[in-house]
């Protein structure tokens, strides 16, 4: 893919998380640098995912690191970091854990804060950790059905039912 502003190959794929549709930019290193510098200047306007990533990854190492990062996928929902950057939306609650190092600077850039203050759900974070496993199991069951591995699918179904019935943290 070519840079939006010149003929060089686009090595930077930036997604701006704005209030409306996420905006996509494909830029060569030089134009990316110009763009990222400019986003830092306009810092107090729209929170920028680009600005945050630029702070996190040193600009000169960025292309290579980003390419590696883009390949990483969440073991539960399967979303890649590239897809997250591309659409500006995460795939499942576990992404906040598996991409924590990458998401952390983005969040602190958006909110100028790094930790939640305020209300907590009744079952805290433990309930989440137990039940996000269901996302992986259901996905594996779907895949097993697709390849007609019904034995595996039925094992998975029992496992899913077991966790669903475990009302830990839920009102009986």
């Amino acid at each position: 893919m070519k840079c939006q502003h010149c003929e060089k190959p686009a090595t930077f794929h930036i997604t701006e998380l704005t209030d409306e549709q996420p905006e996509e930019l494909h830029l060569c290193e030089e134009h990316a640098r110009t763009y990222l510098m400019q986003s830092e200047v306009e810092e107090d306007d729209v929170p920028s995912i680009a600005g945050a990533l630029a702070q996190h990854l040193k600009i000169n190492e960025a292309a290579e690191q980003l390419a590696q990062l883009d390949q990483q996928a969440c073991p539960l929902c399967g979303i890649t970091f590239y897809e997250f950057r591309h659409v500006g939306r995460l795939g499942c609650p576990h992404d906040y854990i598996c991409f924590e190092d990458e998401i952390d600077p983005i969040i602190s850039n958006i909110h100028s804060a790094t930790a939640h203050v305020g209300k907590q759900p009744r079952s805290g974070a433990e309930g989440t950790d137990q039940r996000t496993e269901l996302i992986r199991l259901r996905r594996e069951m779907e895949q097993a059905i697709q390849v007609e591995d019904y034995e595996k699918a039925s094992q998975l179904r029992d496992q899913i039912a077991g966790i669903e019935d475990d009302r830990t943290g839920e009102e009986v």
Binding site: E20, P47, L90, P93, Y96, A115, H116, G118, K119, P121
Partner: protein
């Protein structure tokens, strides 16, 4: 059907009652919540979406938990007109109306709360109060949230708080917003200056229908930009503190207009009334614009029109409302004719 019963009235947010209701239209709070055992909506399979709907729909049966009877609508089974009708009433978002797959909304019969299922997040809970009353909206939505939390497991992270599909909503998942009618600040061209200073303290300004919508009828919503690092009560406070300042600015601008250009203002209001009473065809944008002038005139004592009727007309002259009142789908040209007739009738009869 419940929807048809709604057509005739103005909904909670346009009741025009409550503290400071000449300027503050409504107070609204929404919470974004996700269930921990499903992917976020964009990554959900059809089966996931249906399972989420079923789990949330089961809450309706616990009737004792709701103060008013609750209605449940499948948005995917609705026609376009009914969807748009719910958008105009601010019971669902445009995104929910326009997206795909199994999605629905719970609405109480007083329209004081709604719960969208499978929007960008699994749940978007909303509470609305007429006038300036964020504290009451917070108490109500907090109770609903506790009730849902007692039945389902929310996605939560010890440091990031309530987890949402978009990192811009993470933390409290809360948006606190107040809708204001600011015609005098628009006329004196002071509004932009005021909005720039709001942005500096992390408050966002949006039009009548939220993100990306224009400020139809001089209605503006002021809301918190960030959701992490401040408690729910602090977020309510942050918006609450700035509203009296906004009210003061608008009042000063009104006084200025009265002092400096009373005749022009009075002329503008009377002309607006003249057009609304006599037009043969009129668009919804022009209607909103003129109704705004009349609302200003009433609140400044320049003209006598019943406020509840006026507030209701803001809603009932919008496309989907008008079509439901007339009783069927109409092309734009026909809508404009029917709108003119409806306005003429309303102004001549007054509020009955």
């Amino acid at each position: 059907m419940f929807l048809d019963e709604l057509v005739g009235n103005g909904g909670e947010w346009l009741k025009g009652t409550g503290p400071e209701s000449d300027i503050v239209i409504s107070s609204r709070i929404r919470l974004a919540r996700n269930l921990s055992e499903f992917p976020f909506v964009r990554k959900c399979s059809d089966a996931d979406k249906t399972a989420i709907e079923n789990r949330v729909a089961a809450l309706i049966n616990q009737e004792s938990k709701w103060s008013d009877p609750v209605n449940y609508f499948r948005i995917d089974e609705m026609n376009d007109l009914d969807r748009q009708f719910l958008v105009e009433r601010q019971l669902i978002s445009r995104e929910l109306a326009e997206s795909n797959g199994a999605r629905s909304v719970l609405v109480d019969s007083g329209e004081k709360f709604s719960l969208m299922i499978n929007e960008e997040d699994h749940l978007r809970i909303q509470a609305v109060q007429s006038g300036l009353d964020l504290t009451e909206a917070w108490h109500r939505i907090n109770a609903i949230d506790d009730f849902v939390d007692s039945c389902l497991t929310y996605a939560y992270h010890p440091r990031f708080g309530y987890l949402t599909a978009c990192p811009t909503n993470v933390g409290t998942g809360m948006r606190v917003s107040v809708m204001l009618h600011l015609p005098a600040l628009v006329m004196t061209r002071e509004l932009e200056k005021v909005f720039r200073s709001l942005q500096k303290i992390n408050l966002a300004v949006r039009g009548l229908y939220g993100e990306g919508s224009e400020a139809m009828g001089d209605f503006y919503q002021i809301s918190n930009q960030i959701t992490l690092g401040k408690s729910e009560v602090e977020l309510v406070q942050q918006v609450n503190e700035v509203i009296p300042v906004m009210i003061e600015y608008e009042r000063k601008a009104r006084d200025f207009l009265l002092r400096e250009s009373r005749d022009e203002l009075s002329d503008r209001v009377s002309r607006a009334q003249g057009i609304l009473q006599n037009a043969k065809t009129i668009s919804s944008e022009e209607t909103m614009h003129l109704l705004s002038s009349i609302r200003l005139g009433v609140n400044m004592g320049l003209i006598e029109v019943e406020l509840p009727m006026l507030n209701r007309l803001f809603l009932q002259t919008q496309p989907a409302h008008l079509q439901k009142l007339i009783g069927g789908k109409l092309e734009i040209a026909d809508r404009n004719i029917h709108r003119a007739k409806y306005l003429k009738k309303s102004f001549n009869l007054g509020d009955n």
